[in-house]
Symmetry: C2
Subunit: 166 residues, 2 copies
Amino acid sequence: MQKDFLDELGELALGSRLKRLSEKVLSDAANIYQDFDVNVQPKWFTLLALLHRKLRVNVVEASEYLGLSQPAISQFCRQLADEGLVSFVTCEQDSRRKVLTLTPRGREEVNKMLPMWQAVQKAAEQLCREFENDFYRSLRKCEKALAEKSLQQRTAEAYNELYVRP
Amino acid sequence: MQKDFLDELGELALGSRLKRLSEKVLSDAANIYQDFDVNVQPKWFTLLALLHRKLRVNVVEASEYLGLSQPAISQFCRQLADEGLVSFVTCEQDSRRKVLTLTPRGREEVNKMLPMWQAVQKAAEQLCREFENDFYRSLRKCEKALAEKSLQQRTAEAYNELYVRP
DNA sequence: CATTTTAACATAAGTAGTTATATAAACACT
DNA sequence: AGTGTTTATATAACTACTTATGTTAAAATG
């Protein structure tokens, strides 16, 4: 008795399959944070890592770097400020901009997370290379291919080939 | 000026990367539905396809087949019933169960969608095979590998190797 | 067969974001 | 300098689910 209908749908359910896997990985990540007694929310991870690396970024910049919406960063930013991990000052040259930085406590928390990140990195790297072809590399290639031509356009073309000009 | 921080994070951000790609694919799918003037919501897709294939399933069964929560199916089911696409009757052998089926209109709508699905299938299949290795196959392998040993456990092991027993 | 446990479904509340919209600052043009 | 347009951020409302919980029916057990 097979109970995974996505297997039957195959590539047609590519999106659903990707979503399901991403949720599995992200929920595992949340558990890992718990294992390591890290009291920051997993959803803040990419923003914290960005601030660790870049030191100073404003809201729109962060949203571009991370591929999230501007309101998402705005919200995370408030939450992180409430936690005392991030502070922000109005940009001097342009008072519309809000420049984010880690607070000393934020830097401390990130430093405590670094060994955990190293371990996740190693585990994920090994996972992706477990098969004959590197999954992470395929993933990036797929992203790139879709950026060049969307699934929407590919589908329109496939439809033409199948039904209009067969 | 590179603006994708996930590239810098590499495998550490595997979950975020998968999520971003799944959202891209699913939002493309929504656009495709629009292109084809199909007036059913993309989120119903897997359930409609399941009912098309299996004819009769109950709520819990559907949630298992699709990997969604039972309340999710419950909600979709109500929405689809409101649209007149799905009907349900109480199971005779077990009055707790609700057996879902497509209505005649539901079957009609699904039949209208079949050519579109064929086109998506073809486009997605070509996309996945565009590279030297089949992305969809890697994806399934990765799922399977994680089902056998979670990223959480892999990370614990990697941590030991890196810091405890180096 | 009375009672506890388990299973199926519905409903409520919560979450991690999104899109839409408002506000205010900066810029471009006259 | 005044006016219209664009940009940065905040806020509100929405979405597609989730977890938690309640209700009722079925099954298991003493």
